[in-house]
């Protein structure tokens, strides 16, 4: 547990020190949202109806940058090997990195919400619920994303491989997050929000446990 906390502290500190990169990723996400509206056209009704989809697509695209960055410092000067030589359970290292990534992605998602509100006229009164959905979706991206980021950081063509591997995998989380967000924005007459949120939770539960188990094999020598 103490290893986990120490590693988490390290990762959060790293993120704080490289916060300029996070700002850049946010700008990338925001410009993606802008481009979506150009692609669709200035039809306010259509934009509002699909706002949830655009938000999550923008966040998904931005996450590939953020996740890849999260292992940048580990690859420099072979820090990853150094970390693994410590008598520490690699799982603790994984969970620390994954938790740090969730926090970062949630922050990113929440920051993109005002952009969505402005560009697509798509807001919600249920802000708390929206933050929860964003966090759960970010968790869904972060669990396999952190694992694959660790893998692809060591491989060739890493910038292509990470999204290539991640995108098909997170389809259930994407669907659930988009539906849940959409219900919050457009209204939920049939009370489906809980069901979609539960699907997100199930996805997160499966992958947070599975990826933690498999991480050791991904970074072993």
């Amino acid at each position: 547990m103490s290893v986990f906390l120490a590693a988490l502290r390290k990762d959060l500190l790293l993120q704080w020190r490289t916060r300029a990169q996070l700002v850049a990723v946010f700008v990338f996400g925001a410009s993606a949202l802008l481009l979506f509206s150009f692609a669709v056209g200035p039809n306010a009704g259509v934009l509002r109806q699909h706002a949830a989809g655009f938000l999550w697509l923008g966040l998904l695209l931005a996450s590939t940058l953020a996740l890849a960055d999260s292992f940048e410092s580990e690859m420099a000067q072979r820090a990853l090997e150094g970390l693994l030589l410590l008598p520490a359970d690699p799982r603790a290292l994984y969970y620390a990195k994954a938790v740090a990534n969730v926090l970062q992605l949630t922050l990113l998602g929440v920051a993109l919400v005002p952009v969505m509100v402005v560009l697509y006229d798509a807001g919600t009164a249920r802000v708390g619920a929206l933050v929860v959905v964003v966090a759960l979706g970010a968790a869904g991206l972060s669990a396999p994303g952190t694992l694959y980021a660790a893998m692809t950081a060591q491989a060739r063509a890493r910038n292509t491989l990470l999204p290539l591997l991640l995108f098909p995998l997170v389809v259930p989380a994407l669907l659930a997050a988009v539906k849940a967000t959409s219900l919050l924005i457009l209204g939920d007459p049939m009370g489906q929000l809980r069901a979609w949120t539960l699907l997100l939770v199930a996805f997160d539960a499966v992958y947070w446990s599975l990826c933690g188990l498999l991480f050791e094999r991904v970074v072993e020598d």
Binding site: T160, L161, V171
Partner: protein
């Protein structure tokens, strides 16, 4: 890895069964009541879909054994099964698309099973790409096994989420059951694809295993090279 000839027998008999089942389904089976002749596509579509799932399940099994036990045989089988899975998934999507056009007037009907197959196509295609971009054979084996496990576990999640997402749009999906008169061509073709696959996956695995041997063999000793002895 084995050396026997049985895979060629399997491939030949698989193709023969497919020829038999397909001609039965095309020419002799009765026309279906509501779907008309378009229904005949099912005689190749359903067997392909069944076998695609089967070979991907086999890939998952190879991945687990490869992670637990190691060794190059299971990695070779994994490579073969993933490739065959990608080919079959692509075929299923093509068949499903060709079926959807006259039936629903669109090239894609978002049927949950078909859509899940499309997602699987991309997931396992990504695993093939992963294998291409990793040079270290040990890492390649471990990582593609990990990725296969992760992708396979996703299958029920993808299926249920798509099914649910689609249920709001009330589009009829591909018929689940086929009435009695149509069973035989279906079964014959199913076994045809199965035998074909068994032979091809075995041959493909042997190829991968041989390549691994070439990849891993040590360089020739300097003495041997100096004398000019072939390695």
């Amino acid at each position: 890895m084995g050396q026997g000839k049985w895979p060629f027998v399997a491939v030949a008999s698989g193709l023969a069964l497919l020829a038999w089942g397909s001609s039965w389904g095309l020419a002799f089976a009765p026309r279906e009541a509501y779907m008309g002749d378009v229904q005949r596509i099912m005689y190749v579509h359903v067997p392909t879909a069944w076998n695609a799932m089967l070979v991907l399940t086999f890939a998952f099994a190879c991945a687990v054994v490869s992670l637990v036990r190691g060794g190059w045989k299971w990695d070779a089988r994994l490579e073969a099964a993933v490739e065959a899975g990608v080919v079959l998934s692509a075929l299923v999507c093509a068949q499903g698309s060709i079926w959807a056009r006259p039936t629903w007037g669109v090239w894609w009907d978002w049927d949950p099973r078909l859509t899940t197959t499309a997602v699987l196509l991309f997931a396992f295609g990504g695993i093939m790409a992963l294998r291409q971009f990793v040079d270290d054979p040990v890492k390649r084996a471990t990582w593609s096994a990990v990725a296969t496990v992760i992708a396979y576990v996703d299958v029920p999640l993808v299926y249920f989420s798509v099914r649910w997402w689609n249920s709001l749009h009330q589009m009829q999906s591909t018929p689940e059951t086929v009435s009695r008169a149509f069973h035989w061509p279906l079964r014959i073709n199913a076994f045809g694809v199965l035998f074909l696959l068994m032979g091809l996956v075995e041959l493909r695995a042997r190829t991968a295993f041989l390549r691994r041997e070439t990849e891993l063999e040590p360089p020739p000793s300097r003495a041997a090279a100096a004398v000019g002895v072939a390695s």
